[in-house]
Symmetry: C2
Subunit: 448 residues, 2 copies
C-alpha cells in the first residue's frame, strides 16, 4: 500500500475526545498538547507548509504543518485534506503573533472521521453567496457559513428571550394539537391530512386552543409550528412557520400591546448583549427601542393614504405595497396599526362595542411594511361569538367542540400571534424569509 | 325590570383591572379594598350568608356576603352565581382566622363577565373524577381541576428545566419541518398530507434534520410535535406527542447516556424545587436520583428472561409486558437497556463495529416498563448508511436530499429522542398518557 492510499482511511471517533474548543486555545496553552475537532473550512498549500483552518461551533483555529517538522505520513495526509472534511487534530499549541487568534496548532496526529467527497457549489467564507435554491438544496452545508450560523445563533437568543420574558410575566408554556378537525379562521389556506379514516387539517394557528386555556391557566403561551397553504411566491411567506402565541385573561388589547412591545424590547436587548460577535459579523447595529411604540389607527392610516392620493376605501386591507408608499420614513421602525375594520378580522375578534361594531379591538405590529404580529381582544361570550360566526358564513356546528366551553364562564381575554421568522427578518435585515429559516417550506419546496 | 333580571347581565371588563391575585390577599391588607378576578369554584348558600370561592391562577379566595352588610341588589346577584362563572369582585379584605387563608373578602361590587350556563358533568374539587372521555370532551373545563392544573404546572417546569439544562450544555434550539417528503424510519405509521399538488407526510421525528444540523452547530436540540399514526389503543401512545430531541457531534452513545441521565436529574430536581405545592397536592414524593442510572445490556435482559422461563429469542423486541414480568422490583426507577440488536433499530443507528454488526450502539431509557427515550450513536459515513438502508429495504433514491450532505464531512454524532408525556407519566405517576396531555390525539379522538 502506498502512503497516500492510507491517507483517506476514515476512522471512528472511538475513545478520542476533544480537549479544547477553538475559543479555549490561547497563548496560556503555549507548548501544551490539545485535541481539537471540527471541520476543515480552508486550506492553503504553500509547498513545504500547509495552513489548515479547523472550524468548530465556537470559531476557528489555524493548524500549521511544516514538512520539516512533520512525519512524511502526516504531512502527506494533511496535504490531501479537503474543505468540509470532519477531523480531529492532536497537536502542540504555539503562540504566534501572526496567527488569527495569536496562537496556532502544530499537528502531531490527524484523524479523519469523514472525508469531503465533493466540492461545495458555494464559498463558505463569503457573506454574499449564490442563488438561494442552490444553497437550500444543500442546506446543512450552507449553514456552515458564518453568515447563517450568526443568524441562527441570534434566533436561539430570540427564542430564549421570549420564553424568559413570558415566564417572568406569569405565562405558562403549553402545546396544543397541530392536527385539527376544522379550520380556525374559516376555510382558506389549510393543508388537509388523512387522519386514520377521516379528513383533518394542519392547524394554521393555536388560536381557539389557547383561548380555551385561559379558562384554567389565565396566561398561556405556545411557541410552535403553524401551517398555511400559501399559494403565493413571496419573500415573506412560508408554508410552515414558527409562531409565538400568547393569550391572557382579564385584559384587553391595550394591555397586550404593552406586553408585546416590552417583549420585543427585551428580545432585542438580549440579542445585543448575547450576540455581540454575530452582530459585528453581520454588520448590524440594533436600534435602541423606546416605549411606547407609535400607534396609528387604521382610519388614520387610510386618511393619510387619501392625502397621498392612494386609491383605498375604508374597509380594504392594507397591502405591504401601499404601506411602503406611505411609510417611506419609517422603513426600519416598529409601530402598531390599531382598530381595524371588523369585516377583515377573524370571527373571534371583539368589536369596539355596540355603537361601533364596524371597528374592532385589534392591532397589527408592523416593522416598516412587514407585519410581525397580529392581536386583539377576543370575544368571550357564546352569543356574540355565534352572531359573528354566522355573519362570516362559518359552519357553527363544526365548531361545537369549541363553542361548548363557552357555557362555563370563559374570562375576558386578549392575545397575539407573532411570526418568529418575520421578527428575525426585522432584526437581521434579511429580505428573504428563507434565509432566517433552517429548512424553509413553500409551494415549490418540500425538501430537504 | 326586576332586580333579579338585572343580575345576569354580563359585562365587559372595560377599564376595570385586578388589583391583587389570590396569593397576594393576606392580613396585611386588612380593611383595604381589593379587586379580585377569577372564576367561581364553589358556592355555599347559608340563607343569610353566602360563601363564594373565587379561583385565579394562583389559588383561591373566600368571599363572604352577609345579607345585613350588602345592598339587596348585590346579595341577590351573589345568590344567583353559578360555579364556573367568570367574575370580578371589588371588596374589603378582612382578617379571619377561620377562613382558609386567614383572610376573606367582603364584597362591595360584583361584575359578571361570563355566566355559567350549564352544570359541569364532573366535580371541580375532586382528585378522582369520572371517565376520561367525558372529561376530554370538555377539556378546558376539566383543566380547571387542581389535579390537572398541578400536572401542567409541573409540565411547564419540566420544559423550562430541559431547555435550561441543554442551553447550559451548549446546545442551540432549532426547529425543523414537520411536513416532509419521505418517511424517516421507513414507511410505517405516517400521516399523509396533501402538500399543494403532491403527497407528503407528517414527520414522525426530526431525526434526519437534527443529524444534518450537527454539521454546522454540533449541539442542537428541538422540542416540538411528532406525529405517529398509531393504530393501537393503549394508555401510553398518542398520535401527536411532544418530543425532546437532542443531537451532539463528536461523541458516542455513552456520552449521550451521561447527558440524558443528568438532564433527567436536573429536571426532577427543578420540579422538586419549583412545584412544592403541586407535589403536595398530588401527594407525590419525587425520588432522589443518583448517577449513574443502572445499565443492562439487551443480551443480559434476554438471559434474565430465559432464567425466568420467558419465551423470547435474541433479536426479538422487548414488550412492556415481558419487561413488567422481569422488572417487578424496579417499577419506579429509571434504567438503561443498551446494545440492542441492529435488526430492530432504525437504519441510521451505528453498529458496535465490524466484528459485531449484530449489535448496535443504542439505548432505551426505561422507567419500569415504560420507554421514556431512545438514543444511539449514528452512522456518519455515506457508504455505511447506504449499506444499511439497502439491507432494511428502504428506497435510497427517496433519501437523496438527506444522503447528499454526507459528501461534505458529517461529524461523528449521537443523540436521543425523549417523549415528554412519557417522562411526565413517570414523574406524576399518571397511568394514562392522556392525563398529562392538554388535548390528546389518538385513533378515536380528533377534538377538541
Amino acid at each position: 500500500m502506498k502512503l497516500s492510499d492510507r491517507v483517506l482511511q476514515e476512522e471512528d471517533i472511538g475513545k478520542m475526545r476533544r480537549t479544547h474548543y477553538s475559543s479555549e486555545i490561547n497563548s496560556d496553552l503555549h507548548d501544551n498538547e490539545a485535541i481539537i475537532m471540527g471541520w476543515v473550512s480552508s486550506i492553503r498549500d504553500h509547498g513545504n507548509m500547509q495552513f489548515v483552518t479547523i472550524t468548530d461551533r465556537y470559531g476557528d483555529i489555524q493548524v500549521v504543518a511544516k514538512r520539516k517538522e512533520c512525519t512524511e505520513e502526516l504531512f502527506n495526509q494533511i496535504q490531501q485534506l479537503k474543505e468540509h472534511a470532519s477531523v480531529a487534530i492532536r497537536g502542540k499549541v504555539k503562540s504566534q503573533v501572526k496567527a488569527p487568534n495569536g496562537t496556532e496548532v502544530i499537528p502531531l496526529e490527524l484523524r479523519v472521521f469523514s472525508m469531503a467527497k465533493k466540492t461545495a457549489p458555494f464559498m463558505i467564507q463569503s457573506k454574499t453567496s449564490i442563488g438561494i435554491d442552490t444553497r437550500l438544496n444543500l442546506r446543512a452545508v450552507d449553514l456552515r457559513r458564518n453568515f447563517l450560523k450568526s443568524i441562527f445563533r441570534i434566533r436561539n437568543t430570540a427564542l430564549k428571550a421570549a420564553r424568559e420574558f413570558l415566564s417572568e410575566h406569569g405565562f405558562i408554556e403549553v402545546n396544543t394539537p397541530k392536527m385539527i378537525a376544522t379550520a380556525t379562521e374559516g376555510g382558506a389556506a389549510l393543508f388537509p391530512i388523512f387522519y386514520y379514516d377521516r379528513e383533518a387539517f394542519l392547524a394554521q394557528s393555536p388560536q381557539l386552543y389557547k383561548e380555551q386555556l385561559t379558562m384554567a391557566f389565565e396566561n398561556v403561551f405556545e411557541i410552535g409550528p403553524i401551517f398555511r397553504a400559501e399559494p403565493s411566491r413571496t419573500n415573506r411567506h412560508l408554508s410552515e412557520a414558527i409562531s409565538i402565541d400568547v393569550e391572557q385573561a382579564f385584559v384587553d388589547y391595550n394591555d397586550i400591546m404593552r406586553l408585546l412591545e416590552k417583549m420585543i424590547i427585551f428580545t432585542v436587548d438580549s440579542i445585543k448583549e448575547t450576540n455581540k460577535n454575530e452582530l459585528e459579523y453581520l454588520n448590524l447595529q440594533l436600534p435602541n427601542l423606546e416605549l411606547p411604540f407609535p400607534k396609528y389607527s387604521y382610519s388614520n392610516i387610510v386618511s393619510k393614504l387619501h392625502e397621498a392620493q392612494e386609491h383605498i376605501r375604508w374597509g380594504d386591507d392594507l397591502s405591504p405595497q401601499i404601506i411602503k408608499n406611505l411609510q417611506n420614513n419609517r422603513t426600519d421602525a416598529f409601530y402598531f396599526i390599531t382598530d381595524w375594520p371588523t369585516s377583515i378580522k377573524p370571527f373571534y375578534v371583539k368589536t369596539k362595542g355596540e355603537k361601533d361594531e364596524m371597528m374592532c379591538e385589534s392591532f397589527d405590529l408592523m416593522y416598516g411594511s412587514l407585519e410581525i404580529s397580529s392581536g386583539s381582544t377576543r370575544i368571550n361570550r357564546k352569543n356574540d361569538l355565534l352572531k359573528r360566526m354566522k355573519k362570516q358564513g362559518l359552519n357553527v356546528d363544526a365548531f361545537d367542540y369549541h363553542l361548548r366551553v363557552f357555557d362555563y364562564g370563559v374570562p375576558p381575554h386578549a392575545g397575539f400571534g407573532l411570526g418568529l421568522e418575520r421578527l428575525l427578518m426585522a432584526i437581521t435585515k434579511c429580505d428573504n424569509i428563507r434565509d432566517v429559516t433552517l429548512y424553509p417550506r413553500d409551494i415549490d419546496r418540500l425538501t430537504p
